[in-house]
């Protein structure tokens, strides 16, 4: 297992013994995880293993059924709603399906956070919007387009520009390359690296894409679906550097990183 960086600074975000379920369906059980300042942590695992739920718990978009979420060492549940909302503005979130607001055009989407939370004059907001769009490789020409008029890759880039508009110091990427062609996937991977090089951000990436893992990860955590685990087994089956994940002998990790069905092919026979 990878040891945390040698610093006295508390983890930027930490989950301690966190569990979460929906109705009668448990998704996460007793997860403990730390994200340190400046690192890029990549969460991998099969669909439905709770990667996106973990990220929403870190962002306090969901409340845990049990356990603790801390931001900079302080419990999130001890903060007032106003404090949580204000602190959350330091986080940018690129949603899986981009989650652009259908009723607003590209400009209004990127400007949304600035208009909602600052008293900047419209001229300054326009400057920030154009700058962010330029950073993600989009010209001012797209400003008037609605999300329905954008391709999948453009939506992701507008989503990223919107997430970066308030200059966050933590950026969450929820499956940033899912549904994109290999070239556009690489463009998004490069944008993740570029974002980190332009400003000192902590990044948390949820993905199935091992090229993303190889390209952007400092540290990898692999979650395993609860339905495939015994009650006493940990849901985190791997935590370490990306190269260690590729060299792992554990069939659960080796099969996932190499994209092999392995023993899981039995599910087809039984099914």
């Amino acid at each position: 297992m990878l040891s945390p960086p040698s610093t006295n600074e508390p983890a930027k975000i930490s989950l301690h013994c966190v569990s979460k379920g929906f109705a009668t369906q448990p998704v996460l059980r007793d997860i403990s995880l730390e994200v340190h300042t400046g690192e890029t942590l990549v969460l991998i695992g099969e669909s439905g293993c709770g990667k996106s739920v973990s990220m929403k718990l870190m962002m306090a978009l969901l409340q845990p059924s049990a356990g603790e979420v801390r931001w900079a060492g302080r419990l999130v549940r001890d903060r007032t709603e106003t404090e949580v909302n204000r602190e959350r503005l330091r986080f940018g979130y690129l949603f899986q399906g981009s989650a652009l607001f259908d009723s607003l055009n590209v400009y209004e989407n990127v400007a949304f956070g600035l208009r909602q939370n600052t008293s900047l004059p419209e001229e300054d907001i326009r400057g920030v919007v154009h700058e962010r769009l330029q950073e993600v490789g989009l010209s001012e020409m797209v400003c008037r387009r609605t999300p329905a008029e954008l391709s999948g890759g453009m939506k992701k880039r507008v989503g990223l520009a919107r997430a970066l508009a308030l200059t966050p110091n933590v950026v969450f990427y929820d499956e940033p390359t899912t549904g994109l062609d290999p070239i556009m996937s690489d463009v998004i991977n490069e944008l993740i690296l570029q974002t980190r090089s332009l400003r000192p951000v902590t990044s948390i990436v949820v993905t199935h894409d091992m090229r993303t893992v190889q390209k952007v990860a400092d540290r990898v955590v692999m979650l395993y679906p609860l339905s495939q685990l015994e009650t006493n087994e940990s849901q985190i089956v791997f935590e370490g550097r990306p190269d260690e994940a590729f060299e792992s002998d554990d069939p659960r990790i080796a099969d996932f990183v190499r994209g092999r069905a392995g023993e899981r092919i039995q599910e087809l026979v039984i099914g």
């Binding site: 929403k56 962002m59 978009l61 909302n85 204000r86 959350r88 503005l89 986080f91 940018g92 979130y93 949603f95 899986q96 399906g97 989650a99 652009l100 607001f101 259908d102 949304f112 956070g113 909602q116 939370n117 919107r162 997430a163 308030l166």
Partner: protein
């Protein structure tokens, strides 16, 4: 084993009743909390004009054609249905009185609200449901906007404030429709038609109809937004939310109409007790 506990089938009628009751209690609780949060936001901070005006345009302006057509036909239908019976007792010149009082007290508010529930309520539930399913509601929170303040309050205010106007339009167009059919097709004298109508409809009738409409508008907005916020996953979830929004709003309209009708009648006789003796 003979001495073992009696084995119950997994899903009996009792289970179903229990589940239904729990679900109903949970829904009422959830709607109450939702209404409380929304009211708190209305008291704390009103929405920006840029958010409120589009909601008002959608609820008010775009609903006008629908409520006008509904009003016109209802006025004419009332004339068609009541004419034969009034003619038998030679009171056809009083047709205006019955058409107008039916419209302003009952049919205008109820039908305007029903059309609003169908046109606006279903749309709100589908729109907010889609936003939930596509994570746009999470995106609002991530960008520092409260979804109830940003999405629900403007829709609620638009329904609450504009439904009395829409009801007034329905009433007015219905009255004109009834007059047109009665005088131009059924041949009733226009002077007598208005003379009797004027003496029969009181300001209390008009105001009680408008008071009902305000509660109808509030319930449509709350139920529809609540359904949208709690819709299930995928296209099926959104479709179900839109249907539930209309059905529940319609039931709410009828229930409010019934109880408020009793209350307003009681109030009327408390204010003007002499009118009981006239009955």
């Amino acid at each position: 084993m003979a001495s073992g506990p009696i084995a119950l089938s997994r899903d009996t009628l009792i289970h179903a009743i229990g589940r239904g009751t729990l679900s109903a209690v949970e829904s009422v609780g959830s709607l109450s909390l939702f209404s409380f949060r929304m009211t708190r936001w209305i008291c704390n901070r009103l929405p920006k004009r840029s958010v409120l005006l589009p909601a008002m345009y959608n609820v008010g302006v775009l609903s006008l054609p629908v409520v006008m057509v509904t009003g016109a036909f209802i006025g004419m239908v009332l004339a068609v249905q009541a004419y034969d019976q009034f003619r038998q007792i030679h009171l056809e010149s009083r047709l205006g009185a019955v058409i107008n009082v039916s419209l302003v007290k009952e049919l205008g508010p109820v039908l305007a609200a029903t059309m609003l529930a169908g046109r606006v309520g279903s749309r709100m539930a589908a729109e907010l449901g889609t936003m939930k399913v596509t994570e746009q509601i999470d995106a609002l929170r991530a960008l520092g906007a409260n979804p109830i303040h940003y999405l629900v309050v403007p829709r609620f205010l638009a329904c609450f404030l504009l439904i009395p106007l829409l009801t007034s339009v329905t009433d007015a167009v219905g009255i004109l429709g009834g007059w047109f059919f009665s005088t131009q097709v059924l041949g009733i004298n226009s002077f007598h038609y208005w003379f009797h109508a004027e003496n029969f409809v009181t300001i209390y009738d008009v105001l009680s109809g408008l008071a009902k409409s305000v509660l109808f508008g509030a319930s449509i907005a709350l139920i529809s937004c609540h359904r949208g916020f709690h819709c299930g996953a995928g296209a099926e979830g959104v479709g179900r939310a839109a249907t539930e929004a209309f059905v529940l709003s319609f039931i709410a309209i009828l229930a409010i109409d019934f109880f408020l009708g009793i209350f307003l009648n009681t109030l009327y006789y408390m204010i003007w007790p002499a009118s009981i003796s006239l009955l």
